[in-house]
Assembly symmetry: C2
Homo-oligomer: 298 residues x 2
């Protein structure tokens, strides 16, 4: 890889910059960032990349272009760079939902230009370049999207790129991707936001200083519910169909739990509580979480 352009230098973009530099994956790292606040931070952090002022300057000299901006900004940005793009350039993104953004890309990207979508399963409740870390992608999955229009050569090169970044890679189509992540990521985030919202509503009514006593469970959800609002609005809207289905499964099950509690249905509730426990063991075996009680935080 010669030159890499990172569009959007927040948590993910700045983590990529750090890792690309550390592993010497590119000759030049070019950074385009819109937010003045972030530009100041990038300068202060002395991130190992060249900040460019005009997006087209970066596009013209890059072999790999990585969109690390909210999905709601894809269209505008594509329209800005379209005329500078060539079919040899590899273009990717790190967005968390794929069907809808795929449609936006298809509709707006200049003909004969290829887009090869990625989704690294890495992130945090904090945003901004100051929180980036070269280790962010290490041993995390990166999903690469293979649809009908995917350029297989680009896919192959991109797969090697993500492996160099430290990720484990897996290839699937947009449809499968959006279904899986509606359940493992999008619904959990929505539920976390909803639980914190419910606690806020309750607090307004009761005026107890609830949060003092949040260590019994609520605090875990509050972490996820502190995630970037623009990013998550975009995900919920873009993966609407699957997220709505996931909500329906969730409400159906919650109503069943409600009945179990209301009628003190011992057998039914115990069966569920025992079953869900097994999921934790599986997640730990798959090394998807730290194997210490309380995430080792206490």
């Amino acid at each position: 890889m010669k030159n890499i352009l990172i569009i959007g230098c927040g948590l993910l973009g700045s983590s990529l910059v750090r890792k690309i530099s550390r592993k010497k994956i590119a000759k030049k790292i070019l950074i385009y960032e819109k937010s003045k606040k972030n530009i100041l931070k990038i300068k202060k952090l002395k991130l190992p990349g060249i900040l460019i002022k005009k997006l087209q300057d970066g596009v013209l000299q890059s072999n790999l272009i990585i969109f690390c901006i909210p999905m709601s900004e894809y269209k505008k940005t594509i329209l800005k760079i379209n005329k500078y793009l060539t079919p040899k350039q590899i273009i990717t993104d790190v967005g968390s939902s794929k069907i809808k953004s795929g449609e936006i890309i298809k509709k707006n990207l200049k003909k004969k230009i290829f887009w090869t979508s990625s989704h690294p399963i890495a992130g945090s409740e904090v945003s901004g370049p100051e929180y980036g870390n070269h280790d962010l992608f290490n041993n995390k999955w990166c999903v690469l999207i293979k649809d009908k229009q995917t350029n297989l050569k680009h896919l192959k090169i991109l797969r090697i790129f993500w492996k160099k970044i430290g990720s484990k890679t897996v290839v699937m189509d947009s449809d499968k991707h959006d279904k899986i992540f509606s359940m493992t990521s999008h619904l959990p985030h929505l539920i976390a936001y909803n639980l914190v919202k419910s606690a806020q509503d309750f607090e307004k009514k009761q005026r107890y200083n609830l949060l003092k006593y949040s260590a019994g469970g609520l605090r875990d959800f509050s972490r996820i519910a502190a995630s970037n609002e623009i990013m998550w609005r975009d995900i919920f809207f873009n993966n609407k169909k699957n997220v709505l289905k996931a909500i329906d499964i969730f409400i159906k099950n919650l109503n069943a739990f409600k009945r179990d509690i209301n009628y003190k249905n011992d057998k039914s509730i115990l069966k569920k509580l025992i079953q869900t426990k097994k999921v934790r063991s599986k997640i730990l075996k798959l090394k998807q979480d730290i194997n210490k009680p309380n995430f080792g935080r206490d």
Copy 2:
């Protein structure tokens, strides 16, 4: 305090044993444990207490008796020890809901005997004496219950006891307690169980190896959903009224989120996602969670 009897030596009981011994709070620590498996573990761990075989032997020589057993075992255990109890003994428990267990205690405890209920907000997804830790209660809240029938002298002594254990103490009545914890602890646990159950249902239907990709959110919930099933069944059943109300608030809010997503109601959803973020900052200010991204686990 002269002698302390711990009834039930799991995660909480064994943590108390360790701390009482380390801080030399008692002359003798007596341990009563029913499970043969746990008894073997206690012996192997060489916990600093005397394992007694007959519950009455412990009751007869103790000034403070602490129930660290599931709430569904209170009645049986009270009936066993009733005739050995005297009004001078301080009796407490560490149960997570208070109204219903208060009724059970009132109904079954011998007359003129006092019970002063405690709820240390400490715990974990793991159970058993091998996971206990002398530090478990450090800087955590311990709620002490003051109702009409509470013996104020006992309450005062118990408060000093929990402070020695390392907890911060707060006094409230059963009603307030059960309302607060229905929202900060009981609902979050139920929601975590329900989310993992929903993911299981989805997995059965789709057969995607979902859990491989659980790092995007689901893993956080899976931790809480691995908590002890007997303990949590008891809590859900005992705090039924408040838990059902909390579920209703939750479902109402979730349906509102569903509408926001369905109609892409930008303003409404952003307002909520921004509001919930503030809760995290408050929780961190209140030192109810670790102030590191991702709980510092990555």
